[in-house]
Amino acid sequence: MKKNDVILIAVLLVAAVLTAVGMRIWQMNNTKDAAKVVVTIDGRVYGTYPLSEDRTEKIELPDGSYNILTISDGYADVTEASCPDQICVKHNHIKYSKESIVCLPNKVVVTVEGGEDNEIDGSTF
């Protein structure tokens, strides 16, 4: 390994960390509207669900494959899927604006829009 290699690796890692932190801050600051979960299949909107209501939705594709979307405690998560790689199932649950869970084999994308309104979340009636 040469000195240049070490510099390259350091630059890549620092750039990655900075971008990740920057995106996180942006996501946390864009949490004004009521949160929605938008599900798209192959770029077309399949359904929109509020993040505040607990529910389980089976996203079914014409060819019989499916993804099961579970919304609970303000988080959206894909809990079951017919795809072979199961990357969407392993993915962490999401709640911030623009966070997404992707299932490449089924072309399903689950994205949070608007983020979470912390004030409403914290209040009790």
């Binding site: 040469k2 240049n4 290699d5 690796i9 990655a16 995106m23 798209t40 790689d85 992707v102 994308v109």
Partner: protein, 165 residues
């Protein structure tokens, strides 16, 4: 191209094919789409430093087509072709510049492989939200690149010895 080189290129194609299959059976599933170990890149790296650039490009294309036809489908082939092409370009340029050792070239190859796949996935799924994965893929690409580069270096030294005989 002498006989020894031809024989080695055939061997490399077979190796890359088998390593792709192993990777297909043992996916690196950490919940991030596009994250890959890049085992096949090990063979491309060794080829790049032993049988030359043109042969490494040929090897890379043959591998993607073979693996796509055998284990995947057209869309999977598109992902890997974009990843392989971008990764190979980055490695060729890095090698030409001559400022990096095998490790640096391999790291760039790993990072750009992941970037290429993300770009294709963004185009196919028509969503920009995949950009969110980019920093994580950069870190993964760097780590796998260092490991692959280390092993590629060990193998290259020995294969070069065979060519000198």
């Amino acid at each position: 191209m002498n006989n020894r080189k031809i024989a080695f290129l055939g061997l490399f194609v077979a190796l890359a094919f088998v390593l792709s299959y192993i990777e297909y059976m043992l996916p690196l599933n950490i919940g991030i789409p596009g994250a890959k170990l890049g085992l096949a890149n090990l063979v491309v790296m060794v080829a790049l430093y032993t049988v030359g650039e043109k042969n490494a490009i040929a090897l890379s294309i043959i591998r993607v087509v073979l693996v796509g036809l055998t284990f995947g489908n057209i869309s999977m082939m598109m992902y890997s072709l974009a990843g392989a092409a971008l990764s190979l370009c980055a490695m060729l340029i890095a090698k030409k510049i001559g400022k990096f050792s095998v490790t640096g070239v391999s790291v760039l190859g790993g990072v750009f492989h992941n970037i290429g796949q993300i770009i294709v996935a963004m185009l196919v799924l028509e969503t920009q939200s995949l950009l969110y994965y980019l920093p994580f893929l950069m870190v993964i690409g760097t780590i796998t690149g260092v490991l692959i580069g280390f092993v590629a270096n060990l193998i290259t030294v020995r294969v070069k010895g065979v060519f000198k005989m």
